[in-house]
Symmetry: C2
Subunit: 372 residues, 2 copies
């Protein structure tokens, strides 16, 4: 898997009790930063990444050698301006980019942890990352933000630490994973587990990875990230480097070729067990249930200012689910803004060059920073 | 696979030229009938089945011992009334319920055909089934109908044989498979092919079937058959026979258990290669392209009366795609009715007990039969 020896890490030496009951200690959190923390330490933005993201939000990812996953949004003069703000992003626990995860070596057996890694939650992820505030001696973050699973972490962070962020921008997310969300994640997990190379999670010891299963899981996910109309406009029934159908099972259509490609490149950078653990954490996420069926109660103690962003063509975390968060915040008179951005790019909109989205976020962040 | 020795078959002894260019001859078409053909032979309804259907539309399927796939719609006094009409349904070529398909034995090698079976199309399926009209000496069918891929066959049948059906009822279908449709089918195919037991399609020789891959393919398909809201209402976040989350990868949620079950029962009745071939035929379906980009031209020579039915929550073949067929028919002044049925059961609505749908279809069929 990824060689993470040369990336930044803190070792958390405070015990963390996980939701499953297990206590972990002396575990690594891998992180990256962009920009500079000012003297007042009031310009820090903590970004939470999505399912297959990592700490490398901008610039060139030193492991994959590709652009950081949020390069459209984060950089000099961009929506999240690295000239103005100090950006921190950590790899979630359960991940495979240096933070404590299932591909770590179990010191007892000298084998990878695999499925001996504990099942973690969004709450566990957020509590683990909170240690970065101590590390950087930041009393209060200016902003917490993230899309998709990153947005779930934003919600959980404010619920857990009501006085630790001035503003919060959850994007294209939900307060409670729906049955369809769980279904698609379960499909991905079953696909990985169906691969005989998965070997009950012990594959790295046997030098063979469940690449085929992980690739199919990624293909399934990719379909959900795009809208039906977006797919039709981008691919339609266009053929892949051929004049006519070949009457075979090759990739006749561009959409087939696209999906196969997305699957094949994913397995080079992502660990199959991490995929299992992180999707599980997403499925377990239910902030409404955590607060006794009343989402408003998650936020009664906070003065954090919220700005919720959804996208018209996102059918994975549709506007209606984002609005439920707005409604819960309104019910307690919280300071909350909301915008639904017109886009045909589906759930992926938050990762892509959607000018209206980027401009809206930029304006909100900059205006909020000035007002004190 | 299914033992189809004791089911009804005709052997087609007229050569059929397939779209791929290959000519087949002396091939079996397995079929079932319900009700009686009257003396005038004017009461025959040909039903086309969907991707995983077969000829056993009603009563108990003699192979699976379960209810026929369209038991809600077909039977005495039902929407398609077996007391009044003579119902014929054939297994499509490429299928695994007795018609010529990839699990047939190749007489040359004495092995299953596997991927030596030719890639077939909806057009090939319809042309093959047309032979049943000769067999039953039916000059003109009263009705052709079917949902999903069955609806595509309805459209193709009328285009190919413009004077062979009095009425046509395509349900929840499309005239051209969309990029998202292709994407989900490709996901299923890749899932099957990723299973090492698939063995390039030669699995039956090796006595091991790609059950895991086929099961994942079925899970993916099932998600697309249900609506997001329908899933949420039926399953939501309900737990499967437990009081709380187990912090494991077992099926904690009912939706997970449901999908696993659907996958596991499917592999007992369906052949993985058939799944590849039939999904391929669906993806190749583009009646618009067949008629030079103008769908109306497919129907200019027909006097067949059309009734198009779609469902509000069907996101696989949404109302908009069904309406495109209506628009094409209207453009040539064809006799066409259209109804969008309110239902939260998604694409599966046409298979389920949706009273408004069943009543509407019943009324239309009976009224059309009386008017001559």
């Amino acid at each position: 898997m990824n060689n993470t020896n040369n990336i930044k890490k803190i070792i958390v030496d405070k015990p963390l009790k996980l939701d499953c009951g297990k206590i972990i200690n002396n575990f690594p959190i891998a992180y990256e930063t962009y920009g500079s923390l000012n003297d007042k330490k009031d310009n820090a933005i903590l970004i939470f990444h999505a399912l297959t993201g990592d700490q490398f939000v901008s610039g060139i990812n030193p492991i994959t050698k590709k652009d950081g996953w949020w390069s459209y949004a984060v950089g000099p003069n961009k929506a999240i301006d690295t000239n103005k703000y100090f950006i921190i992003c950590a790899n979630v626990i359960g991940g495979c980019m240096g933070s404590y995860g299932p591909s770590d070596i179990d010191p007892k057996s000298n084998k990878i942890l695999g499925t001996n890694f504990p099942v973690i939650t969004i709450n566990d992820m957020v509590n683990a990352q909170y240690n970065l505030l101590d590390f950087f001696k930041i009393k209060k973050l200016f902003c917490v933000t993230g899309g998709s699973m990153g947005g779930m972490q934003v919600l959980q962070f404010v619920a857990n630490f009501p006085d630790k962020a001035k503003i919060a921008i959850p994007i294209a997310c939900t307060a409670s994973h729906s049955a369809q969300n769980i279904a698609f994640n379960e499909l991905g997990r079953q696909s990985i587990m169906a691969d005989t190379n998965w070997s009950n999670g012990n594959y790295s010891n046997e030098k063979s990875n469940p690449d085929k299963g992980l690739s199919v899981a990624r293909m399934a996910a990719h379909i959900t990230y795009l809208s039906k109309n977006g797919l039709q406009e981008k691919f339609g029934r266009k053929l892949q480097e051929r004049d006519d159908l070949k009457f075979s099972f090759d990739a006749d259509f561009q959409i087939e070729s696209y999906l196969r490609y997305q699957g094949s490149v994913f397995v080079d950078r992502f660990d199959a067990n991490s995929y299992l653990y992180i999707t599980r954490a997403m499925d377990y996420f239910d902030l409404i249930k955590q607060y006794g069926g009343n989402l408003s109660k998650a936020f009664t103690n906070t003065k954090t200012k919220f700005f919720i962003i959804s996208f018209t063509s996102d059918w994975l975390y549709p506007t209606s689910e984002n609005k439920d968060i707005v409604i819960a915040l309104n019910a307690i008179g919280a300071n909350v803004g909301f915008v639904e951005i017109e886009s045909d790019k589906g759930h992926d909109s938050f990762l892509l060059n959607v000018p209206k989205f980027l401009e809206t976020m930029k304006n909100y962040i900059n205006a909020s920073y000035i007002k004190d």
